[in-house]
């Protein structure tokens, strides 16, 4: 299964400030493949504290891992579509469009703009704890 996670979830998983986000990152592997746009990686690294942390962050995406950063630009048409689907801010629409473009099954986020306002059938949007509840019952 392919998932996309928002930078807020990534940060909680790395800082260990949210048990659900921690476990979600722990689960990433051949059965739960993580794909993020370069934008999310940049958001995370800008909020790390030093170059050593940044170096170690990018090692999570090294060859052979089950986590990938995508550099290709998300189609503009799809981004515009997501502004109409409830994400008026282009930067949020970009993430929403990316998840559809990459055929992610879930977008995991704490961002209320995604959780409450995004209307899409392309994938499901939920917080890490909700996803884990599904995962644990094999319903994901």
């Amino acid at each position: 299964m392919r998932i996309c996670i928002d930078s807020c979830v990534f940060i909680h998983g790395l800082a260990q400030s949210d048990p659900a986000a921690v476990r979600l990152l722990d689960l990433v592997g051949p059965d739960l493949v993580l794909i993020v746009p370069r934008l999310v990686a940049q958001e995370v690294t800008r909020n790390l504290q030093n170059s050593e942390q940044i170096r170690r962050f990018y090692r999570l995406f090294r060859q052979g891992a089950s986590a990938f950063i995508v550099d290709e630009p998300t189609p503009r048409r799809l981004v515009d579509e997501y502004t109409r689907k409830g994400l008026p801010e282009k930067a949020d629409a970009f993430i929403g469009a990316f998840a559809e473009w990459m055929e992610a099954r879930y977008l995991i986020s704490d961002n209320r703009h995604f959780l409450r306002e995004l209307e899409t059938t392309a994938y499901k949007v939920m917080a890490a704890a909700e996803f884990l509840a599904l995962w644990d019952t094999d319903a994901a």
Binding site: D6, S7, C8, I11, H12, L14, A15, Q16, S17, D18, L25, D26, V28, G29, L39, Q42, E43, R46, N47, L48, Q49, N50, E52, Q53, R56, F57, R59, L60, R62, A65, S66, A67, E89, K90, A91, D92, F94, I95, D110, N111, R112, H113
Partner: protein, 42 residues
């Protein structure tokens, strides 16, 4: 993610990530970062 434990340990040793105390604060901080990056690239 075999390197995940190393990164978490490094972050903990460095005193954690100082970007907010609540989920809402973290979300807002990262949305601000998103806007800055996105607008710079536009």
């Amino acid at each position: 993610m075999n390197d995940l434990a190393d990164l978490r340990k490094q972050i903990a040793q460095d005193g954690g990530l100082k970007i907010g105390n609540t989920k809402e604060e973290v979300v807002e901080r990262l949305r601000q970062t998103r806007r800055e990056i996105f607008e710079a690239d536009a």
